[in-house]
């Protein structure tokens, strides 16, 4: 009985909604695999101290540069080998996931909030506000952000907080452009004009009437942006501008391991790199799917 009522409601809601709901329900297997992988990596990051076999930061100088246990010349104590300070690569990878994911998510949040707010303001108020904000966007897009990030971090000093802020700011432009374009489409609609005519304040209109209507494209941008923030974090850490030693992040492990690829100790850099790539593949595949479900028209961003 209850289900037939639900079905009737769905039919009433029209084909679009029905299609959308069924799309959420049936995750394609190729996406489901990555959902499982990403969830596993997140859980691994959360439970890092419980599952890592060794302390990630304390080494054993007599056990330096040991090969993974399953190689012919491997050391049985270290499944993925040990690094230049005799630390367990596997344990450092498990702990490194915390930095990569924390910075990635936090940066998306910062960039998303900042960009959406600026985009809303630019689109709603237009004129000078719009000009200033969009010129700022052009300026930011006009030069390689990585150079600015490097220069800023050289000024303020490398730390987890600074890393999150810099990576966060790097992404605001996309959110701002999408939000602005959406607002331009909504600004003259009846419900906005109605609210204006009964004396609704700008803030009320922006946050109560406009924002809820533009959320889904912004969520799409955020879900596609996560892979980018994770990569930017690891790039800065690779260049030595991320969290400082001995704390592990995938990027800094690669940066340190780079010194040893010529002498054959490839495992120090390869394994964190593979896990990083697996994470970004998973995250972008999920992002693509979120976009297809929420807003297939955004294929081009």
């Amino acid at each position: 009985m209850a289900s037939s009522v639900a079905t009737a409601q769905l039919q009433e809601a029209g084909p679009a909604l029905r299609k959308r709901r069924s799309r959420w329900r049936s995750i394609p297997p190729s996406v489901l695999v990555f959902v499982v992988i990403v969830i596993a990596i997140v859980l691994m990051a959360i439970a890092a101290p419980l599952i890592a076999p060794y302390d990630p930061d304390s080494g054993n100088l007599r056990g330096r540069l040991l090969a993974p246990s399953w190689l012919p010349d491997g050391n049985p104590a270290y499944f993925l080998g040990s690094d230049e300070q005799g630390r367990d690569v596997l344990s450092r990878m498990i702990h490194g996931a915390r930095i990569s994911l924390a910075v990635g998510f936090a940066a998306v949040l910062i960039g998303g909030l900042l960009g959406s707010l600026l985009g809303l303001l630019a689109g709603y108020f237009g004129r000078a506000v719009d000009e200033i904000i969009m010129t700022l966007a052009d300026i930011q897009l006009a030069f390689p952000f990585i150079l600015l990030a490097i220069a800023v971090i050289a000024v303020v000093g490398p730390s987890l907080r600074n890393l999150i802020i810099v990576v966060g700011i790097s992404g605001w432009v996309t959110y701002a452009r999408i939000a602005r374009a959406q607002v331009l489409g909504l600004r003259e609609r009846e419900f906005v004009v109605a609210s204006q005519s009964i004396g609704g304040t700008s803030w009320r209109i922006i946050f109560r009437h406009i924002l809820p209507n533009i959320l889904s494209p912004l969520i799409v941008v955020a879900s596609l942006d996560l892979a980018r923030t994770i990569i930017l974090e690891s790039t800065l850490s690779f260049l030595g501008l991320g969290v400082q030693p001995p704390t592990a992040s995938w990027g800094s492990m690669l940066g340190a391991g780079r010194e040893y690829i010529n002498t054959g100790q490839w495992w120090i850099s390869i394994f964190p790199g593979l896990l990083l790539t697996l994470t970004t593949i998973g995250v972008s595949r999920i992002g693509d799917w979120v976009r297809d479900v929420l807003d297939p028209t955004m294929r081009n961003i």
Binding site: T135, D138, F145, A154, T235
Partner: protein
Amino acid sequence: MSRYLLRRLLRTVVVLWGVSTIVFFVTRLSGDPITLMLPPDTPRAEVERVRAQFGLDRPLPVQYAIFLKNAVTGDFGQSIRQRQPAMKLALERMPATLQLAVLSFLFACVIGLPFGIIAAVRPRGWIDNFTMTLALVGQAVPTFFLGILLIILFAVRLQWLPVSGRGEWQTWVMPVITLGTYAMASIARLTRAALLEVLSQDYVRTGRAKGLSETTVILRHGLRNALIPVVTIMGLQFGTLLGGAVVTETIFAWPGLGLLAINGIRSRDYPVVQASVFLAAVAFVFINFLVDLLYSQLDPRIRYT
């Protein structure tokens, strides 16, 4: 058209002013280059003298005004490290970066476009699945990891290619692949998406119905119309390439603008950082401008007013 060009030009000037202002203040905040430059036991008077020589003893707003005045004429001051004009150093490095970026871009187009086209011709077929999986990986793998993988495989294991440097053709292979892969993957995915959309249009069916060959339909009717979003992305990709060059040049010790800027930041050689970032921004803005002009050639419906 000329009004559009004028507005566009004005905006470009504002953007370049913004870029140089940001770079000016960020680099000035990053500490005193003079103390790094001189031995620690240099007498105070000597430190002050050198500081005055570089104009660093003046108030910041004055320094900024002088900086802007000189920047207009392309004068970014003397390199603090190398005792040469900063702009000259940056210009010397420019060809290495541009060559790398252009070759990587060509690599991306030459591989990415055909991949996108053949994937769209038989959607859901095995070629499509294969190329799109490759493209997904290509977009997700971080530049520096790809570079390190290539070095381990081709330089350390197989010893086919040199690890770093810029010289004969072998030195170009790994940097070009490293830098071009992301753009290649993006171009392939977007070409496929755009072409699929165009191929479902009525005029494509008409073309097939009147007996045109499949090649003509796909290339003349399909691709030509699918290219507009692709060209947009290509323009943006070229900018991304200039940014990615920073990382690629670091990995392969490629003597380009990016490496110059990175080393400039590390040694606090402000004038060099300013000149190189400014030059990169000029190149980027110029390319975007060209892309805009290219639109109207591809799509006569676009008119600039």
